[in-house]
Symmetry: C2
Subunit: 198 residues, 2 copies
């Protein structure tokens, strides 16, 4: 009974701590992601952080998994609400760009995870797994939007779309005044139109 309540509390604490990790990653950069900084951002002490996670790497892994889980849930909600496959494709790709303050911050967090994955095989593996899942999702949406395309054509379109949205998110998150939301959306619409997916 109480065990369940405690476990729920523990999970909520993990969630709060992981959100603190995101916050630091987006605001200060990965070089300042220390246990003490995480504890301060989460409003607790390093004792709790180390009690919930076995070490710093576990902190990053859980924060990465949570980001993936939230993105997945959001994307599935968007996908389910879209009236047509093509609308779903556009909406799903749009949420991957830096169109809102939230998604712009997520792009910075993503950059932090990317940098952390360099030279860390475990995080690199996680990165690849989540990225492949994302690519597979976009591929499914493209196939639904254009059922008669050959696999090779789907692959190139998927790489172009995922690359462009991710690249745009990176560029915009670091230079917001150069890449307005209108410019980003125009880019997406132009691409979908050029590929025959509008």
């Amino acid at each position: 009974m109480r065990a369940i309540a405690r476990r729920a509390d523990a999970e909520s604490q993990q969630e709060r701590i992981s959100e603190a990790v995101w916050s630091i990653l987006a605001l200060k950069g990965i070089e300042h992601l220390t246990i003490r900084a995480v504890a301060a951002a989460a409003g607790c002490t390093t004792g709790l952080v180390m009690h919930r996670f076995p070490g710093r790497r576990a902190l990053l892994v859980h924060a990465r998994d949570l980001l993936h889980a939230r993105t997945r849930a959001r994307v599935e909600r968007i996908e389910a609400a879209a009236p047509t496959p093509r609308a779903a494709l556009r909406a799903v790709l749009a949420q991957g760009m830096a169109l809102t303050a939230e998604s712009s911050q997520e792009a910075l967090v993503w950059a932090g995870f990317l940098a952390a994955a360099v030279g860390d095989p475990d995080l690199a593996d996680l990165h690849r797994r989540h990225n492949r899942a994302w690519r597979e999702r976009v591929a499914r949406l493209v196939r639904a939007a254009a059922p008669d395309w050959a696999p090779a054509r789907v692959d190139t379109a998927v790489l172009a779309l995922t690359g462009a949205t991710e690249g745009a998110a990176q560029l915009a998150s670091m230079d917001p005044e150069s890449y307005s939301t209108a410019t980003q959306e125009a880019m997406l619409d132009t691409m979908l139109d050029a590929f025959g997916l509008a």
Copy 2:
């Protein structure tokens, strides 16, 4: 006389040290970029590193500037050798993707600089300046390839092309077996074709 020789030596040492920075950034990630690691990779001691650079930030700034300078020289060579504006556009964009071991490594280095720029206003400024120069170069090439396009059309095409190539480089550098050079080049050609720039 000797002063000139010494200065040349000093610059060559700075270059060697900056290359050590790249190497660590690509191989170990920015979290392991320490003065001692740089000295070890450059085959010298921390005394020389600190003698050539006033501090760690200067190390990153110079390495970033040198990467930009080399990329610029390479791109201008490619551009000058291209027979047509459209060939120049394609070749310049292609060198920005992860098609060779060298450019793949550069994508990892670029990711390290990006992460370092988060939360560091000076490096973020440098990042923006170099990125805007890159965007302006691609825009010039697009205008040369399609002289009658309206500015807005150029802008969206530039964002799509720079974003897609940069995003592809990021994806491929972290997951080489998922993104072959053929796939990347097919993506680029498809995009140029779809935009009417082939």
